[in-house]
Subunit: 596 residues, 2 copies
């Protein structure tokens, strides 16, 4: 059973992601180290003791549509209420609406733990937090006053309605329409698919944020508006009024995250109310809906990255525990013991150890990248004004890497976890397979990892004319210098390896910047995914080393050993990835013809 | 829907795996090119038109244990009968028992197609073929006469009973016991798990091959005997007699291959018959059971490799078809068309094209390796006596690479297939997710891929004191010379890339041979899995080039393009893998400590 790695999380936040310096410099308000520890401890306890035990039943029962009502798995309604009562929904929300105004770093660490406990469960709150963020940034004072308090407390949940059957990654072609009414409200008509936690009975109301198009809207993404469409209308005194004209038509039958209801939502077909059309309230300005979504996109993407980290951690814990218990064969050098009949615990076999250490290194690398991204977001809000732009760019640059690297790692680590379990890994009751089934959606939603790569190469590398990413690589090289300066044997060839991977990153970056500057997008995009992976691997090497350096000061050896393993066994791939970025396009273009 | 790639299969068999030369030199008996084509065509038709349409219902319904009987999915009983009536069960079986005595190459190609149609369905026949092979090689004349005709025709199915709860990879500790009887038969007592197609009602009898231990047997793997234990006893006239004392206790609830009943089998608990104990007949000699299993192990492992190839092919076909239909966004250089509202088919996006071409290259590489392995097996049987040992060694060397590379590719390609589908890939009805769920078992059973790597490094590399593998690498280098000699622009840098990958293979091989010779098994095993992957990637590059060379002679460009893509985008990883083999052990050893 999952046990939240609170100490590792706290260490990574403080000594790798930058929280310790930020605290010391007072850049996170009056947040104290003690409060950080207390919050992480309590979140860890709740995730381990309350959430994780209900993950399996959630997977087995799944969400069900019964007589038009969405039923969640047994125990989940109470779990949600306890969770919201604990204040976990409101960590980062504005104090103006009952939130705690804490740094994103803390919320991201908590998200990791909820998702390790049960990714399907954590999805509901994740979507509510996104809706709160969008409404806070763009809603009118009246809308915010009416809705935000209850969304921040978790008394009501929120959703995001973007996707339509023909419009997934490309929102410009969506068809859901909004009609203006004389009273300033709108009527919404259309169908939305893949709506996470779109319907349930856990809370008395659900606040849908819906993208739709006005009749006179410009074509494409410049003609999309954002609306707040509650399941039940809200009276001026805050009490619930009539049922709005929207409902859940069906639930998807999915590979994983079974406990999370993935709804097809119908707006405005006349099922409820005197007149067809779901009543909606404009958020922000007409035709500026996509811009409203963009403000929350970085955090939403990072939240999905945390799902990857979470699965990595949980799958690794499970595999390590199994590999210590299960005995088979005799590993080289194993002296045997009476208890096991001469067989080794499989963790003693080098191949199994290699899988487990790889899982640990990928977990820790993904975690460090994601937390560092959250730190940049916090610094953009809290740092001195003259540094805010710098940190905004850093968060923008790190977001696609965090989302893609962590979610790819989630799939890879979960798959390795099954392999460590052998035949038992394929049996559903073991639980290792669920991690792979759950993990597999994360590289897809909130912008596929391919779309993250396009974003990274075409929008993020050119920030400050490329000087931002250049400065970042320079910072990373300082880690190499520190490792080299330490001159400790147990780092092995870490410094040389890191230096080589950063040289690969540097070269690939400059090559791409030239292509983008030339307008040769096709050449840049051909290598975008290998580049994104290269960046993630180089960061993994660098951040594991950063942790090892902090650990080494106090004599610790574990992080040194893990960093050395990553350096000497994982990151050499950056050379092949760089090669693919720079030399891969011609053969890709030629081979595309054979796809017919 | 899957359509068997008969032309590609025939091309690979003939021009990459070596069938054309073998046919020309008359080394495959009186087999003609026309007969090969006819068999492949008909197998392809059956797999595409009869098997594939029943895959989805098999996955959805699964095998069920109802009132002690195992029910297979709707339509599968008829499907099996049609399949057996078509003679597909008997392609390689001995003509002495009604088999067709055809080359393994043809059976392997057919296995690919059955597994692409439905891996869960194809598993039953695969196990029967294994049982036929073991019985043919080691059974007494009487046993063979009594059982083989009906097993070869498919009138009865067969199973292999190896695994017990505490004895998976390590058979030496199995507990199932056999007692000698005065009449020369044995009574079998014990529990076996993970028994594929262990019980069903499709055929009137099931012939279980069961490993068990005699009371006075030596400890470990030298004390295991093999028994034939039929579900129903067989009278001397071939009619069925009493029910034997064995039954299916339960079915596993698995991640994939739902239609394939995975049984826990109970032998000898007294449920059937006057006296407890399932009646068994010794196959081969007492305590030589494991040797009997080893004779069929190479073919069984290759058959699992074919499952990997099969999933690769089916998943790629599905993803390519989807990527041509689905439109989203605007790819660089896309001129638009009225039909799509200006959106590109997603196949036009470089990232999607990269995934699809990677899937194609891995499919074709895995196929070529597996077919080449089957060719070696055929040559060992059919070639001149003075060459048989050479071909036996080649088959032995290729088997772990074929099994591991193809099954890893199955998982990777199926996962990429989901990614290409975006959100739809996560929805079970789409069918892309099933490929990943089915594929995930193949790297585990029939010897985990980690065990394949141990076999490759410790048993296969030392064949002929290392000269066999050295000779093989020399042969592969001739492909490089041919590519270089052709001097064609459209091969790009293929020759240089292949040369580099073979140099990596050479260096890693020599390094491992030294460690094995020194008795430094721990060092060798630390890099066994990276080495196995390195070998598979280098072979993929070489064999795609071999196909491209054959194609280039007749002006074809498709295989040239695919080979160049593999050379310039996939195989550069061999450098990092070699590095891991040679330099990875120290950091792996250091990091193992942190697993606790």
């Amino acid at each position: 059973m999952y046990k939240a790695p609170v100490e590792e999380i706290a260490f990574t936040l403080k000594h790798v992601a930058g929280m310790a310096d930020a605290l010391e410099e007072g850049q996170l308000g009056d947040l104290s180290d003690d409060l950080v520890e207390a919050i992480l401890e309590e979140a860890g306890r709740f995730a381990s003791d309350e959430v994780a035990p209900l993950a399996e039943i959630g997977d087995r029962q799944g969400a069900r549509l019964v007589d038009g009502k969405v039923e969640v798995p047994d125990g989940w309604a109470d779990l949600y209420r306890h969770w919201a009562e604990g204040g976990w929904n409101s960590l980062v929300a504005s104090t103006a609406y009952g939130g705690q105004g804490l740094p994103h770093m803390l919320n991201v660490a908590a998200l990791e733990m909820w998702n390790s406990g049960s990714m399907a469960f954590a999805l509901g709150p994740t979507l509510t937090m996104g809706a709160v963020e969008a409404l806070t940034a763009h809603g009118s004072a009246e809308l915010k006053e009416k809705y935000l308090h209850k969304m921040v407390s978790g008394e009501w949940t929120g959703t995001m309605n973007l996707t339509e059957p023909h419009a997934g990654s490309d929102l410009g072609v969506m068809k859901t329409r909004a009609e203006r009414r004389d009273d300033g409200t709108y009527r919404i008509f259309g169908q939305k698919i893949f709506i996470t936690w779109g319907e349930h009975e856990i809370t008395r109301n659900i606040v849908h944020l819906v993208l739709a198009r006005l009749p006179d809207a410009p074509a494409g993404t410049r003609g999309i508006s954002l609306f707040l469409v509650p399941k039940f209308l809200v009276n001026d005194d805050g009490s619930l009024g009539a049922r709005n004209d929207l409902h859940c038509h069906s639930l998807e039958h999915k590979l994983g995250i079974h406990g999370s209801p993935t709804c097809t939502m119908i707006y405005g077909d006349g099922r409820y109310g005197d007149e067809a059309g779901a009543i909606g309230y404009l958020i922000g300005e007409e035709n500026k809906g996509l811009a409203c979504m963009f403000t929350m996109m970085n955090n939403a993407r990072l939240a999905v990255g945390m799902q990857g980290v979470a699965i990595c951690e949980a799958a690794t814990q499970k595999a390590v525990a199994f590999a210590k218990e299960r005995t088979q064969g005799k590993a080289p050098g194993w002296s045997g013991s009476g208890q096991t009949g001469g067989m080794s615990p499989i963790i003693e076999h080098p191949d199994v150890a290699r899988m487990l250490v790889t899982m640990k290194a990928l977990t820790q690398g993904a975690r460090a990248i994601c937390y560092t991204c959250a730190h940049a977001t916090d610094m953009a809000h809290h740092a001195r004004a003259d540094r805010a732009a710098h940190w905004q760019e850093r968060a923008a640059l790190l977001t696609p890497i965090a989302k893609s690297f962590a979610t790819d790692a989630g799939v890879d680590v979960a798959s390795l976890g099954i392999q460590v379990h052998g035949g038992m890994g394929f049996i559903e009751e073991t639980g290792a397979a669920r991690y792979l089934r759950d993990a597999r959606i994360a590289p897809i939603y909130e912008g596929t990892n391919g779309i993250q790569a396009i974003d990274l190469v075409t929008r993020k590398l050119p920030l400050s004319n490329g000087d931002h990413v250049r400065g970042f690589i320079t910072e990373l090289r300082e880690i190499v210098s520190s490792v080299r300066g330490l001159n400790r044997d147990d780092f092995g060839t870490t410094a040389d390896r890191l230096e080589a991977s950063l040289a690969d990153l540097d070269e690939a970056t400059e090559w791409l910047l030239v292509r983008i500057a030339e307008g040769n997008t096709a050449a840049a995009l051909a290598g975008a995914t290998p580049y994104q992976r290269l960046f993630g691997l180089a960061l993994t090497g660098a951040y594991l080393a950063k942790g090892a350096l902090a650990d080494a000061e106090t004599g610790g050896f574990e992080r040194v050993a893990l960093c050395r393993f990553a350096a000497e066994n994982l990151i050499a791939e950056t050379a092949a990835l760089k090669d693919r970025v720079i030399n891969g396009e011609a053969s890709l273009t030629a081979a595309r013809a054979l796809l017919g």
